[in-house]
Symmetry: C2
Subunit: 435 residues, 2 copies
């Protein structure tokens, strides 16, 4: 039990908590927080452990709050197009339970993460270019604060100007400001028509240029993922598939039958101008799922390029005008690396990942990966980008956070101290309390 | 000068600052903040004074920072679809200056407010149902903090998971946490086609039902405004127009030529099912402008229903499933009132306003208006709504804020104290520091 909760998808060393608790209600979470506060014991919220920056590790020990028993969909409103769930509900579970309503929850970080974890890390994924991230889609949170209060951050109204935006403050706070126990999120109508496509390019410039021009012409593209040639090689090997091993764009369009056809035609034209070729289309659900499952396997397929390895995942996000340049410079850095480094990402957002494959317990590999990531972060920051588009800070990006925010980090520290004076909430994560 | 800065669009008594300063740069604002802090003097940021809850009044005196000389568009990026402006740039000025790019800034609170003021109050307006509010559209802010630091709340990347969301914390903070000096916002492609329509209904239920069903079917309606019969009467008198004096829906669709036609047909069908009749369409810019100018004049037209009056504007926002009920109960309250109270609003968001027309210096009128608003706020809160959808808290809604947020108000107070320990930033607004 403790072993299971002492690791995540990151490369950080195993760091188990002293105890794991399984509450069923917000009130039980409050009681746990009250006990921990009295004894100055760290509290680490835990969803399903798919984070990649060490968020759920317990380097200072403490009590892990596992939300697997808080897995109820509490209410759904078709008219309001929103739903309230306990923090342990996963996104696939949610979509299964609400399918009969004709609505769906679009945020898709790949892993079947919990809504609590996705809120805490400000998750996004392939649909963000159309539907936004958790930042745009959480309407309200129920939170247990360090002093044992149960608060709701907002009502269910779609918008509000009533005071400071506590919802957005807790979204992305990674368990360091309070423990999220319930989440209310927006839902969307399942589109009447969905069309997906794959298209290859001679270079990443063509793929990225296609997406930029599409967005500028106001076409409401729903997904736009670019994968490098190395990633395509990994996918072919993993799936016994035969995609061209060239930079490739995965696209999806949502709308009415007529508007999807129109969008698809316009984008096909834009892609051709940028050297796109070999369009494969899929409209039936089973065909689309097959197409997207290849994209979703990019991460695990990548790991197989160097069997037995773990990964250091980078996560920069830059203004889209700098994306081609950022990917080009990063690709030159990849060519100099001693290991394969697949590159792929959510180009409509300016966000991409490099999966640096390192051998476990190999100090040289780890040092090389860290150097690669540090250069990449510096490159992104110089381009007005961010060190993390969707993975969060956790243990791993605190120094990058300081570089990125400069003097503004003092405000984050001030908030942390005001909300958690004893530093019991996921200590050691996000904010650099010790400079 | 001081007189001009001692009032806004609200009914609150005249409260001038002790001095008004006109900085040109963020550094000058910092110098002003440093002087004020040393002398413990209140600081009140001022855009163009169109707020309606006393945000810019100076009941404790102090220095008003007028942003009219910080009115430069600093940079615009067509590829990134974003722009950075000084806080004193107004939304119409911005759209004029970027028209050549093919992009536009959609947020439209009616008044030609400044981007700084709109950020500070988390403004929205008619386009929010499609494009979101300032919450969704501010990418980054430059802020002078109470201790005289100049910070940027975020880089220009479209999304980020790098630490606490300072941008969203300052959006809607109404000058109480820092002074906003520069604003970076998202832009959108000017739609290829725009179509606007007006349609009347026997009752508000039909108008609201049309909007709900349209949203549920995933039609990306761009604007959906409902106006009551009294408001229509006011508009007819003000404009010498001849609209039916019945509940009326104003609609707008954005997209490609084909998708706008498709959307319009679908909505027309939905409206007919709900008793909608007498559709008037406008697609040419001059016709659309004429149609919308009538809607935008609703507020000033309403004032003429009782000449010489000032208004108390209500601003509740409820989950859309409760909107029909909330409007029906409010309409019964309006029937009992001694003055005309037009009702209209952004029904796609669940937000509507009542303009309670009170005679200046008439205590009975003011008491009646306050009672009406208090009942309305209580009704909205009981329906999981908010006391203010877009106007903000200012001086007027602090008690409502406490009702709405309960224990969470303590977190707002903790943030205020951490950011502004001497309470020099727009004191007396938003947070109840004295219980």
């Amino acid at each position: 039990m403790r072993e299971h909760h002492g690791k995540d998808e990151s490369y950080y060393p195993y760091a188990p908590p002293d105890a794991v608790v399984f509450p069923h209600t917000t009130e039980e979470v409050r009681d746990i927080v009250n006990v921990c506060r009295r004894h100055r014991v760290p509290i680490i919220p835990y969803g399903v452990g798919t984070s990649v920056e060490g968020h759920v590790l317990a380097p200072a020990g403490g009590v892990c709050i596992d939300f697997s028993h808080m897995n109820k969909v509490l209410r759904v409103s078709v008219e309001d197009m929103d739903v309230t769930v306990q923090a342990g509900v996963t996104r696939k579970q949610l979509n299964d339970e609400i399918r009969h309503t004709g609505l769906f929850f679009p945020i898709d970080p790949g892993a079947d993460a919990t809504l609590g974890g996705m809120s805490a890390t400000r998750a996004s994924g392939t649909n963000a270019v159309r539907y936004g991230t958790m930042r745009e889609n959480v309407l309200s949170l129920t939170v247990v604060t360090a002093d044992g209060r149960i608060i709701r951050t907002a009502r269910r109204a779609r918008k509000s100007a009533a005071g400071y935006d506590l919802t957005r403050l807790f979204v992305g706070s990674e368990g360091t400001l309070g423990v999220i126990t319930e989440v209310t999120v927006r839902l969307y109508a399942i589109p009447e028509a969905i069309s997906a496509a794959v298209c290859s390019f001679r270079d990443m410039t063509g793929a990225v240029g296609t997406v930029i021009q599409t967005l500028q012409s106001g076409i409401p593209i729903a997904r736009s993922e670019a994968l490098c040639a190395t990633t395509m090689r990994a996918i072919n090997a993993y799936n016994k598939a035969s995609y061209k091993e060239q930079p490739t764009l995965w696209l999806e369009f949502h709308g009415t039958e007529a508007s999807v056809v129109e969008q698809a035609e316009l984008v096909q034209e834009v892609a051709r101008e940028h050297g796109g070729e070999g369009f494969q289309w899929a409209t039936k659900p089973e065909d689309r799922n097959r197409l997207w499952s290849a994209r979703h396997q990019a991460y695990f397929a990548s790991l197989q390029l160097r069997p037995g390895t773990r990964s250091v995942s980078t996560d920069v996000c830059v203004p889209i005008s700098r994306l081609t340049e950022c990917i080009a410079e990063t690709s030159r850095d990849i060519e100099r690396a001693s290991m394969p480094i697949p590159l792929f990402g959510h180009v409509g957002d300016g966000n991409f990942h490099c999966v640096v494959l390192i051998r476990p317990d190999n100090a040289a590999d780890l040092a090389e990966a860290k150097g690669f990531n540090e250069r990449l972060v510096d490159r992104a920051l110089a381009m007005e980008g961010t060190c993390t588009g969707e993975h969060g800070v956790g243990l791993g990006k605190i120094d990058s956070l300081k570089k990125e925010h400069g003097a503004a980090v003092h405000l984050m520290i001030a908030i942390k101290r005001a909300f958690d004076p004893d530093n019991i909430l996921n200590p050691g994560k996000v904010v650099p309390l010790t400079p």
